[in-house]
Structure formats: structure tokens, C-alpha cells
Amino acid sequence: MHLTILIPAILNGLLTGAVYALIALGLTLVYGVLHIINFAHGAMLTAALFAAFFMHKLLGLDPYIAVFILSPAFFALGYALQRFVIGPAAHGSDSNILLVTLGLSVVIENAMLHFFRADTRTIDVPYGFSVVPVAGAYLSVPRLVGFGVAVLVAVLLWALLTRSDTGKAIRAVAKEKLGAELSGIDVSHIYAVTFGLGAACVAIAACLLIPTYYVNPHVGTGFVLVAFTIVVLGGMGSIPGALIGGLFVGVVESLCGLYLGESLGQIGIFLMFILVLLFRPSGLMGERA
């Protein structure tokens, strides 16, 4: 295979991978702290994509501006969901949380299907088709922006977790819930903050995706399957793991698509997934149990 195809394919993989990583960040954060798998993550992504779509369609807001409204809004939404729906409904049992988030995803997706129909929608932004020539490849400007923002968000999240008081509280709750509670940390508040952060990540990802992608009520599911793989691959709860895992999965998918055909493109991801589970069950960057 020619380098003229190989290099663009790797670059494209990195760009796709960055958005995967951003979606996986939210998932890994929630898993790392709450120890629950948030099945509603995909539905939340779809909801965020619809929100970004309507912000553009009805208010004329560019997604890159809407992100400053949507990410706090989704943070609040995520906070409220955990505090007032998932938390109380779970009654302290993890398997209940699993079912509650699964139920939420069904409710959210079908509500969107009801209100917005199954129509596929796209927005048209002036920079939607702009490209930058890099090493013989045309790289799409919105996807480059997506890459930059995804990396930035990962760095900020990592800084938040390691440097700030809230971050320390989140890590304390993740490590030892009872101990944290005894030291005066409001555990249900921290749970809700974490869930809110996960939702905010999804809102940012949606604003980065919508200029080049589409939205319909089922669109989130495809991304979340990949995001789950990244979370396990990178190490459950690890921020750098999610970022590196995301980029890695993007490149693997792209190269497998190139060499094995698009139909088999995803086989690489899941093959890798099985290998990691076999030889490094805690993930690439995960702490050993």
C-alpha cells in the first residue's frame, strides 16, 4: 500500500480516535468513581447532538459557541440525573444502577424518536468542508479542531482530578467511599458531580461531531460500543488511558479498514480488546487490582 494512502489513513485514524477518546473520557470517569457502567451514555450523546443541532437550527448558534452553553447545561443535567433519579432509584445496589441507566437510555432514545422522528439531520456550517493539506493528505478543519479540543479536555480533566480539591474528593470517593464520607466529603454530591462531568464530556463531543456528522435517534449507540472498548483498553477510570486508548483505537480501526476492508475494520478493535483482557486485564494504564 502506498505511503500516499497510508499516512492520510493514520492521520484520519488519529482524528477519529480523539473524538472516541472524548466520549470514552466521560464513561471512564463515571466508571472509575461510581463503579457503574453508564448505559445511558450513548443516549446522552444523541441528546447532546440533537441539542447542538437545534441550537444551530433555531438560534443560529455555531456548535463551537453552543459548546459553552451545552457543556454547563449537560453538567447540570447529569448532576440532577444522578442526584435525583439514578442515586435514589439504585438503593445502593450497583446492579440496580445498571438497570436504571439502561432504562434511562431506552426512555431518552424513544422520547427523541417520538419528538424528532427517525429523520437523519445535518447542519451546514461555513467551515464544514474546509481542509488543510498536511503531508499529502487533506485534513478536515472541523476534525482537526475536534482533535485539539479532545486533547485539551483530557488534560484539563486530568489536572482537575490531580490538582483541585473537588478532584481530590472525587479520587477519595473512588478509592474508599466510607473513608471519604468519614472525612466529611459529601459522597452523593461527588457522585453527582462526576456524573455531571461525564455528561459535559458528551456535550463537548457532540458539538465537535455535529459539523461533519449527522444526528438521528440511534446515532449514539455506535459510538458508545467503541467507547466501552476504549475504557477497558485504557484501564477503567484512567484519563490518560482513555485518551491514548481512543487514539490507538482510531488508528487501528482506520488501518484495519484500509487493509482488511471496511467491513472488517472493527475486527482489529475487538481483537485487541480480547488480547488486552487476556494479558493485561486492568488495561493499558489501569492500576492493578
Binding site: H2, F129, V131
Partner: protein, 410 residues
């Protein structure tokens, strides 16, 4: 049991209300009339699940036809009996479709129209056959739907074999008429029965027609990124690109080609292309859509009634997609059969359908004649996106424009 009925009635009513709100054409009292001594007909569409958009469009078309017939005085040979639609959601799966056929049968429908996807139609026609329930397939192009000897099954539109044969012949005609500027072809197809089957047919038929196939690329549905595929197209530089995939992937592929500045010399030519003859695509991605050709279901652009229906659908804020006019036509075909059968009896309607010569419809078809359930008059049309509109370029009897081939220089 009562819960089931309540749920169905609720769904039915809410769907009717939604349809009325959407189309603005149906008066509210007709909902209340649901219990009258009309002829019950089942309208089956996958209005939820992966095929929901197509299903909703199909239901819209069928509903418009029912409203039109009822507004014009119902079935005249039965003292103006109204068509009483029983709506069903196939949930985008064969099982979902079967369950609805069972329900419609117990609700006492005289016939069923719909199904949409081939997989659903294969199952639902068979279930309906057990009750000798006449069934009109609205889209379902797989040829085996009408070759299994089911006496109750009718398809008004063309099947896969007819469409692909016309598509290949028309491509060769268009190329020959332009002094053969195109020699090489690349096929991009989705990897389920539809795309893979088509790719296989093209791989045997096109070399015989003098084309060289450079590469055949399969991809799954959904595919999130077409950059690699486009890179391969760029490297091979074919004269013609033939995509065979569903709407979302089709649009992504066309957008990526535009973005990566990849443009085949002669044409993008689709067969049953997901977006290639979609007004939505033309409106939303006009530049990426320019000059794309398609061989697909299409209405007769010279027919005044078709244009009137198009206006009505567009006035309701919906796109005039093939699901709409195919379902519309199928309900009219059924109404014509009930009119001649002079009864709501299933066997009488089946016999009337089998001998149907349904004319004055809005499709660019030859005379209606059913052989083993297939309308032998059915044919696809070749369309091309030119400017803000979709023109019919072949067959010549229905054409509204001349083909632009090869592509004008960028």
C-alpha cells in the same frame, strides 16, 4: 387482552393524530369514525427502529391515499364504504412485522399494504398467506418475495432483478450515446444482502458491457468514516463510481469525496442509491449532490396528479420520497381491487388484484399486469440531480431532462 387492545387503540389514535397534525389534511372527526362499517385495511410500516424514517414516510403516503379515497366518497360499489386503516408498526424486524399481521388478522382486515424492507416482507407475506389475507408489498425489492408461489402476495413496484438489469443497460446506453468516455468503474457497497448482491451482479454484467472494474469496496452499516474509502478511490482514479448503500452512508461518502476533492471523470452512478434520488440530500448538500445519477423507484414527472401529491407532501413539511408515492400507489391499487370485488371478502379481493389492470396511477410504469404476484409493468427510472431538482433522464417516454454525462469540468 384488554390492555393490548387499549394499547393498540392508543397507538392508532396517537399516530392518526400525529399524521393529521403533520399533514394538516385530515379532519379530526374521522378518528371518531373508526368503528363504522368500513372496509378495514392493514397499513404495515416499520415506524420505529432502524428503518423508522422510511416507515414513517410510507405510512404518510398510505394515509394520504386513504384520506383521498374516503374524501372522494369511499368504495362506490359498496355504497360508499370508507376505508378504515388499521395501523401497524413492524418495528424494523420480521418478528415485529409478523406480530402485527397476526393482530391485523384478528382485527378482521380485508387486506394489508406495506412491510417496506425485504426481510420484513418475506416474513409478513408468508404469515398473511396462512389466513388467505391479500398482501401488497410496498417496496421490498428482493425477488424471492414473489417467486415462492404465495397466491396472496402482490408487488406493484419493480423487483431487484428488473431494477439492476435496467440500471446496467441504461448505464451502457448513456455511455454509448456520449461516445464511450467512461471505461473504468469502482464499486462501493454496503455489505448486507442488498449491497453485496448488487456488487456481485455488477461484477459480472459490467465487464460484459465493456467496463473494467478497478476495485469493489465493501463497508458495514453504519460506517462512521469514509476517508479510507475515498483515499482508495483517489488512488485508483476510476471514471465512474457506483455506490450502493443506505442514506446516511451515501451522504457521508458524497460529502467526504467533495471534501477530499475526489471527483470521478464521468459520473457517480448509483443503483437504488440511498440518497442519490432524495430531495433531502439535494437540499442539504447541493454541491456534493450535483450530477449524481441513480436508477431507482421514481414517480412519473409528467403526471399532473403526481406533481399535485408532491406539492401536498412538501406543504406538510415532508420530503417526497419513494416510500410516500409507492405506499400511496399501493393503497390506490388495493382500493381499485376492492371496488371491482364489490366486497370486503379476502378471496374476492385477491382475485380482483390478480386480474388488476390498474391504470391512471402516478408511476412511470407500463400497463399493470400481475404474473405470479409481480406487476410486469413495473420499472425503475434513471434520475440525475441537476441544480436544485431531480430530473428523470431515462426511460425517454418519461424523461424531463437530458443526461449530463460525462461530468462537466470542475
Amino acid at each position: 387482552m384488554s390492555i393490548l387492545i387499549d394499547r393498540r387503540k392508543f397507538l392508532q389514535t396517537s399516530a392518526l393524530t400525529a399524521a393529521a397534525a403533520a399533514s394538516g389534511t385530515m379532519a379530526a372527526p374521522s378518528i371518531l369514525r373508526a368503528q363504522s362499517a368500513g372496509v378495514k385495511i392493514g397499513l404495515l410500516a416499520p415506524v420505529s427502529g432502524a428503518l423508522a424514517y422510511s416507515g414513517q414516510q410510507g405510512r404518510l403516503g398510505a394515509q394520504l391515499a386513504v384520506d383521498e379515497i374516503n374524501a372522494a366518497g369511499g368504495i362506490k360499489s359498496m355504497n360508499g364504504a370508507k376505508l378504515d386503516p388499521v395501523l401497524g408498526d413492524a418495528q424494523s424486524t420480521p418478528d415485529g412485522g409478523n406480530a402485527e399481521v397476526e393482530k391485523m388478522n384478528s382485527a378482521g382486515v380485508s387486506a394489508i399494504v406495506g412491510g417496506f424492507a425485504s426481510g420484513i416482507c418475506l416474513a409478513t407475506t408468508q404469515t398473511a398467506a396462512r389466513y388467505d389475507l391479500p398482501y401488497i408489498v410496498d417496496v421490498g425489492v428482493t425477488d424471492s418475495i414473489v417467486t415462492r408461489g404465495l397466491k396472496n402476495t402482490f408487488r406493484f413496484g419493480p423487483g431487484f432483478g428488473v431494477i439492476t438489469k435496467a440500471a446496467i443497460e441504461n448505464l451502457i446506453t448513456i455511455n454509448n450515446n456520449a461516445n464511450k468516455p467512461a471505461k473504468t468503474v469502482m464499486i462501493v457497497h454496503e455489505d448486507s444482502a442488498f449491497g453485496a448482491g448488487l456488487a456481485k451482479l455488477l461484477n459480472t454484467a459490467l465487464p460484459a458491457g465493456g467496463f473494467e472494474i478497478l476495485d469493489t469496496i465493501a463497508h458495514p452499516t453504519p460506517t462512521r468514516d469514509f476517508n479510507n474509502v475515498v483515499l482508495k478511490i483517489k488512488a485508483a482514479n476510476p471514471d465512474i463510481v457506483i455506490p450502493a448503500n443506505y442514506y446516511n452512508e451515501y451522504v457521508l461518502l458524497a460529502r467526504t469525496m467533495q471534501q477530499q476533492k475526489v471527483r470521478p471523470k464521468a459520473a457517480i452512478y448509483s443503483v437504488l442509491g440511498g440518497a442519490a434520488s432524495s430531495y433531502k440530500f439535494v437540499k442539504e448538500f447541493n454541491e456534493a449532490a450535483q450530477y449524481i445519477m441513480d436508477c431507482n423507484h421514481w414517480f412519473d414527472p409528467r403526471n399532473a396528479k403526481a406533481l399535485e401529491l408532491k406539492k401536498k407532501v412538501e406543504a406538510a413539511g415532508q420530503f417526497f420520497t419513494y416510500e410516500v408515492y409507492l405506499n400511496y400507489s399501493c393503497v390506490l391499487l388495493l382500493a381499485d381491487a376492492i371496488e371491482r370485488a364489490k366486497s370486503a371478502d379476502r378471496a374476492a379481493i385477491t382475485a380482483a388484484l390478480a386480474s388488476s389492470t390498474f391504470a391512471n396511477h402516478i408511476m412511470p410504469y407500463g400497463p399493470t399486469k400481475f404474473v405470479d404476484g409481480q406487476n410486469t409493468g413495473a420499472a425503475p427510472a434513471n434520475t440525475q440531480i441537476i441544480g436544485n431538482d431531480i430530473q428523470v433522464i431515462l426511460p425517454e417516454a418519461f424523461a424531463s431532462a437530458k443526461p449530463v454525462f460525462p461530468l462537466p469540468p470542475a
